[in-house]
Structure formats: structure tokens, C-alpha cells
Symmetry: C2
Subunit: 431 residues, 2 copies
């Protein structure tokens, strides 16, 4: 099933789809050559927005949740990709320690953890769960909606290694994005593989750094295909010190928003796009859709009411917003019946393993679909992104569209590789 794209079938996206399909061998070759120079993140998910005239990643998650939204048919692909990933990192591995988020009452999230346990178990590892929650001091069972259960165990830290009771892992896999900062227990683990590395967590990571790296990737890719990088690249700007409560730095946000809206307007004009531009203002660090604002006119920022100021001041785990990113808004025009649908692409190592649509009936096309309480319905991609059908009419073939989303997802993932290289505190500098 492909959600219906409400924009015209002759739009730039169909040209892009056609060009991507025609260039498939060149694209795959390009990715292979990039992976010779860069290491893909261990796993990732990318939110993609298809505006009909533009197709772009808007969020790249290096601690993906939602693996439970993939279909059973996608699972073997995930297992095979996990085997490839493990083989490269720690072929001698027997044990994998998985550290999930603390919110143990969110059963949707727990189903994701269960799915990860299943994937890495089927890839041939003993998987156990360790928690960063200090209040858990002995093995604790958590019931899942499907009747199964998970056991969370307290972490055991020695001077050099991290494990559980009678469990010494080769690899520690974080499914916790470290929004609350880097826990001491994870520091200085030089004998074990900690994945993703600590600087991929929101304690260090910045969206602006990601999109700067992505821009580089998008430009290279656009050159390969002979197209305007803007078609796949959301423009952005950032402000360093912002406090919406007392108005600090609001001027910076306002001037950047204004400039960005102007740039978008010019691009829309160039392509004859009849849309009202908008920008998204959000925290430069952090996730979970808190602290996100849609701005259509920079003047609107003058009139923020108390509620809006509060919303923009708190993100996950109570961090105060201080850095913000102002990003070109990409409307999503995919619809399932009347509901807005946003594709999400899942990757393990360099492989796209599946994807689904976030379908949300109550949200607008220019709103964030992953906001708190967003009761989206996951709708798994119905056909494989691995089996495009060249020659089919652009815009009408689900496998072709999924292949295209897989390409965009991988571009964002490659952007994350560039980003993590640039921000690696242990990187050796040869210059």
C-alpha cells in the first residue's frame, strides 16, 4: 500500500524518482565507495518528508525506537544486517549488553526493546538488558502487552569494563539517547565497544552539526545525479544562546527565521511552487518532539504567549533549551485516506532494513508528527525497498518510492557518519 501523494504526478519528485531509478547502479556504487571511507552508524532511523516538490530528511535518530513497527517480513533483513554489523565490530562477540531508555512504563517503547533483543538474539548473540535507572537494584521483570516479558538488570561497573552479574559483554549497545547527559558508568570503557559512541548522544550531538554534514552529502549526491541539492536538502541556521522565557537571543532566532523564509520564498518562486513557506524552530540538541515550533512569519515570534514560551523552554529530561536550530519546513503531502503520513526509514549498519509511515489524522501537513501524545498509527511499508521496478510509471510504484526513501534515508545516515567523524573527541587530526 502506498499512501496517496496528493501533489501532481508530474512534479519534481517524480523526476527525482525517475532519475534515482535510472541512476541506481551509479548510486549504489557511490554509496559503496563512501562506505570505504566512512563508517556507518551502528543503527539509525530517518524521518523523511515528501512534499511532492521536495524530498528531505528532517530528523536522523541514532538511537532508533520503533523497530516493533516493522513487519515480520522485514525482520530477517534486520537480522542479516545485524550479523554484518556485529561481524565488523566484534566478530568474537558472544554477549551483547543493551541499555534502553529509562521510561519503563511505555509499553510501545518496551516492544521496541523486545524487538531489538529478538533481532540481535537471532543474529547469534546472548542479549541482556542493563538499565541506567539507579532505582533498579535487582533483576526486574517488565510485562509486555503480548504476554511476554523483559528483564532489566542493574549495571555492574568495574574499573575497566561494564556488564551485568555473570555477564561480560564484548559490545554495549545504547538505545538511550543520553539526553540527560553522559552517565559516569559509561565513561572510560576502553576495552569494550560502546555503540553508538558517547558523542552521538544528545549530551554532545547537535542537529545543526548533523544538517551541516548532511548538506555536504546532499551536494555530492546532487552532483552525481546532476540536480539541485535543494530538492533533497532542508536549509537551516542556528542560534547559540536562546532563552524563550526571558527573551534572550530571540533576535537571533527572528533574524535567521526571516532570512530563511526569504530564501525558501525564492526557491519556491524558482520552481513555481504555490506554497506558503514556513520554518521549524526546535532545540539543537534533544529529541521527542518537545520544544518544536512552526513559524510562517518572523513577526509571530514577537507575540509568543506564555504557553508557547513554556513549551519551547523544556525538552526531554528537563534540559533547558539554550541552542536552537531554525530549519526550512518541508510539508508532508503523503496521505492515507485523509490522514497525514510521514515515512520513516530504518537502517542497521549500511543496510535499509525496512520502514513505515507515521499516519496521523489530527495533525497538519506542516506539523511535527512525532510530538508528545502523537497517537500516530504505524503503517509498515508494504513492499520491499530492495526490489525497485525500473520502467514503471513514476509516482505510481510502491517499490520505487520505497527505494527512493531508502536512498534518502541512507544519505542522512551517511550525513551522520560525516557528523560523527567531525565531532569525534578522540579523532586523530592529520592536518
Amino acid at each position: 500500500m502506498v499512501p496517496h501523494l496528493i501533489t501532481a504526478l508530474n512534479g519534481p519528485i517524480n523526476e527525482l524518482e525517475q532519475r534515482i531509478l535510472e541512476s541506481m547502479p551509479a548510486i549504489e556504487r557511490w554509496f559503496r565507495l563512501e562506505w570505504m571511507e566512512h563508517t556507518p552508524p551502528f543503527y539509525s532511523s530517518v524521518d523523511v518528508r515528501n512534499a511532492g516538490f521536495k524530498l528531505a530528511p528532517v530528523d536522523t535518530n541514532l538511537y532508533p525506537g520503533g523497530f516493533n513497527n516493522l513487519t515480520p517480513e522485514m525482520l530477517p533483513l534486520a537480522v542479516q544486517a545485524a550479523m554484518a554489523a556485529i561481524e565488523k565490530i566484534c566478530p568474537e562477540a558472544k554477549n551483547l549488553l543493551l541499555i534502553p531508555e529509562k521510561h519503563t512504563r511505555n509499553t510501545f517503547y518496551l516492544m521496541n526493546v523486545q524487538r531489538l533483543v529478538q533481532i540481535f538474539g537471532a543474529a547469534g548473540l546472548n542479549v541482556r538488558l542493563g538499565t541506567l535507572d539507579d532505582s533498579i537494584t535487582e533483576p526486574t521483570r517488565l510485562a509486555l502487552p503480548d504476554g511476554s516479558e523483559l528483564t532489566l538488570e542493574p549495571l555492574l561497573r568495574s574499573k575497566r569494563r561494564l556488564g551485568l552479574k555473570d555477564f561480560d559483554p564484548c559490545t554495549i549497545l545504547l538505545n538511550n539517547d543520553l539526553s540527560a547527559g553522559i552517565p559516569k558508568v559509561l565513561e572510560g570503557l576502553h576495552e569494550q565497544y560502546l555503540l553508538p559512541p558517547l558523542h552521538a548522544g544528545w549530551a554532545v550531538r547537535r542537529k545543526s552539526q548533523h544538517f551541516q554534514a548532511y548538506e555536504e552529502v546532499a551536494k555530492k549526491f546532487a552532483k552525481l545525479l546532476g540536480m539541485d541539492p535543494w530538492l533533497i536538502n532542508p536549509m537551516f541556521a542556528k542560534c547559540g544562546k536562546v532563552n524563550f522565557q526571558d527573551g534572550t537571543g530571540q533576535e537571533c532566532v527572528q533574524s535567521h527565521a526571516d532570512a530563511l523564509l526569504g530564501k525558501i520564498r525564492r526557491k519556491y518562486k524558482e520552481y513555481g511552487i504555490q506554497e506558503k513557506p514556513f520554518v521549524i524552530v526546535k532545540a539543537d540538541a534533544g529529541t521527542y518532539g518537545m520544544g518544536i515550533m512552526t513559524v510562517r512569519d518572523a513577526k509571530d515570534l514577537d507575540e509568543l504567549n506564555r504557553k508557547a514560551r513554556n513549551k519551547m523552554s523544556v525538552i526531554k529530561d528537563g534540559q533547558e533549551v539554550s541552542e536552537v536550530i531554525i530549519q526550512e519546513g518541508v510539508p508532508t503531502y503523503e496521505r492515507m485516506n485523509d490522514a497525514v503520513a510521514e515515512p520513516v526509514v530504518y537502517m542497521i549498519d549500511r543496510y535499509v532494513v525496512g520502514g513505515f509511515y507515521r499516519v496521523h489524522a489530527e495533525r497538519g501537513i506542516d506539523e511535527n508528527l512525532n510530538s508528545p501524545g502523537a497517537s500516530f498509527v504505524p503503517l509498515a511499508f508494504a513492499e520491499s525497498h530492495h526490489l525497485p521496478r525500473p520502467g514503471e510509471k513514476p509516482g505510481a510504484s510502491a517499490p520505487n518510492r520505497f527505494y527512493m526513501y531508502g536512498v534518502i534515508g541512507r544519505l542522512a545516515m551517511l550525513g551522520a557518519s560525516y557528523e560523527l567523524e567531525a565531532t569525534d573527541p578522540d579523532a586523530e587530526v592529520y592536518e
Copy 2:
């Protein structure tokens, strides 16, 4: 769907299944470590026989046909594995030249070729077909039963490279087992990757060398699991110079068959197996089920009639039999309704990508199911080998059985790796 296994559910195979499932992390780790030292064949298929008391590979094909028998659900796995394989061998590849068998009238085989074109195309390569058939001097279209078509092109050989008109491939993939000898056109291609290597073809390859290498693998694996290697290893012997027409070397075959039958008898006694032992006599080189004989008593070899002598004297492409392998017969006790079912496991690179059962109503449990005219019905594995379910009752779970078959298939593939290393004419010797 799992074919019904007619042997008792408490037999050694269920113990084996249980031990394999319990040892999954150890097994996967062992494979990972083996692949650090050895290179898997580019692709392979393995015929497995499940006797209830013994589970063993009986044929390892390094030029697998039958990819068309895999389900559409297995295709993405094949594509992903093909991506991994290409990446390791020739990441800069744009073009793949596929050289199929010459028998262009066998539409089943052509459907296999079409499937390979699809898999490597979806992995991001321009795939074209070159033929070793000299009578094809210009691009020739072949119609397929599904209405599609394939184009065979004449090969173009320069001094150093092989290609087609306007097509210079990085990699040449053989789906032709070279039973007729090594064609001149394939010799001396030092600038391109020729896969599998020439010494994997039946012009050079010997089953006895494969099973000698497999024995080594089976012993290592049995040590890992603490079990008798015989449970997964078919015993064998070989005779160098045999001509069934004039009786040359018949004595060698007879004495080896007699000795092997005695060894099997002792093993059957040790395990309390109430079966009549048999051995298979077949050409040590070659494939396609020609020249295969079931022997239950060495004396039977005295009384071969003319028909049997003729049958044993010709194999594919008219090669005379001169070397034979005498192999322990492993009955297959899997049944679909009343029909004998033999599992076949398909692999690309180190990954099991799928499998199917050869279901044959007219054959006995001790006969070869891949013989000429064998009108077997392919029945694809209904569930993934990638998702075993530890804890389910041994012998009753399809995913668990498929996982076990995948392990045996990979052991045989690893055997082929050892074999190709041992027989590599260009190998550097460090001793």
C-alpha cells in the same frame, strides 16, 4: 509449512536441533571467526538430507541454479547479501557480466537466470548476459514463460579483459559449472574478478575433495557442540580410474563400497538404527544427477546390466567417467503428504538467503532427487531460517528446523571454502 518428518520425534535429530538452538550464539560466533580466516564462495546451494537420525549435506553446488524457486519474500535477503558480496569484491563495480549455462531451451533454468539478473540488478549493478555458446554471434532474445525475455550476447575477449559490446565489467559471474572443461575465453583474466574461480568448476573440482574438506569442518563443529561428527558427516571413499563399460577399476569400487557398508552398519548398530545401509556411487566430478547408483550390497556391482553400465559412463556434456566417489547414503525421511522431500539451502556470500524442498512423489527415500527428468515440485521454506524460536518443542517448529538446515548449509559452504583454498592453483604456500 514443514514437511512431516516420519521418524520418531525423540530421535537424534531432535537432540541435534535442540543442541544447535541452545548453542546458537556459540555457533554464530564460530562462523564469524571462521570467516575471518576463510573466504566464503560467492554463492552456493547445498542439498541436505534429513534421515531423522542423521542430517548431512550430500551435494554442494558452487554454480547454483534454482534461485527462481525462492519466494518473493526471500528476494530482499538475497539482494542485501549480494550487496555485501559485491562490496567486498569490487566496490567500484558498475557492471556485472553473468555467464549462464548453454542449455537455453530449459525455461526453468532461464527463470533462474532471470532471477539472478533481478537480484544483482537490485543490488545496484548493470547486469548483462554473455554466452559461451559459439553459435550465438549476435544479441539473441529468449522468451520466458512469464512473458518477459532475456538477451544473450556473444562474449568479446581482448588480450586482458572479457566483456560484451560496449560493456566492460569489473566482475564476471559464472553460472556455468564448466563441466565441459575450461573455455579458453575465460583463461588469463587477471584484471577482472572471475567468480567463482576457475578451479571451482567441474573441470577441476572433485566431490571427494569437497567432502574431505567438509569432514574437517564437521569435526571442528562437532567438537564445538560436543557431539559425534558422524551425525552430520557422510563417510566416503574414492577410486581414481574407473570405466564401468570395460570393468576397469570395478574392484576398487567394490572393495570401498563393501568397507563403507560395514562402517555404516557399525554406526547404525551404535545408535540402534533399524535401517538397511546403502552407499551412493557417483562421478567424482560433475553434476546433474547423471551417473548415480545406489548400492546396498557390494556384490550387486558384479551384476550391472548394460543399461546400468551405460548410465554410469556418461555424465553432463559427454565427459567419460573416470573418477568415482563412493559415499554413505543418507536416506531422506521428510515427507510432504506421501512424497519424498529434500531440503536445499541457498546462500550468497556468508548469508543463508532462503531455501526450498524438492518434493518428488515418484522417488524412493534412498534415491537421488535431482536426477534427469526429476519432475520435483519446489516448495519454498515457509518461514525464515533467520528467526528461530528457542524453547519450542524440538522437531515441531519450522523456523527452528530451517535454522538447523541453514547451519548445515553453511557448514558445507565453509567446507567449500576450505576445499577451494586447498585446490587453488595460485595459492601461496608458506610451509
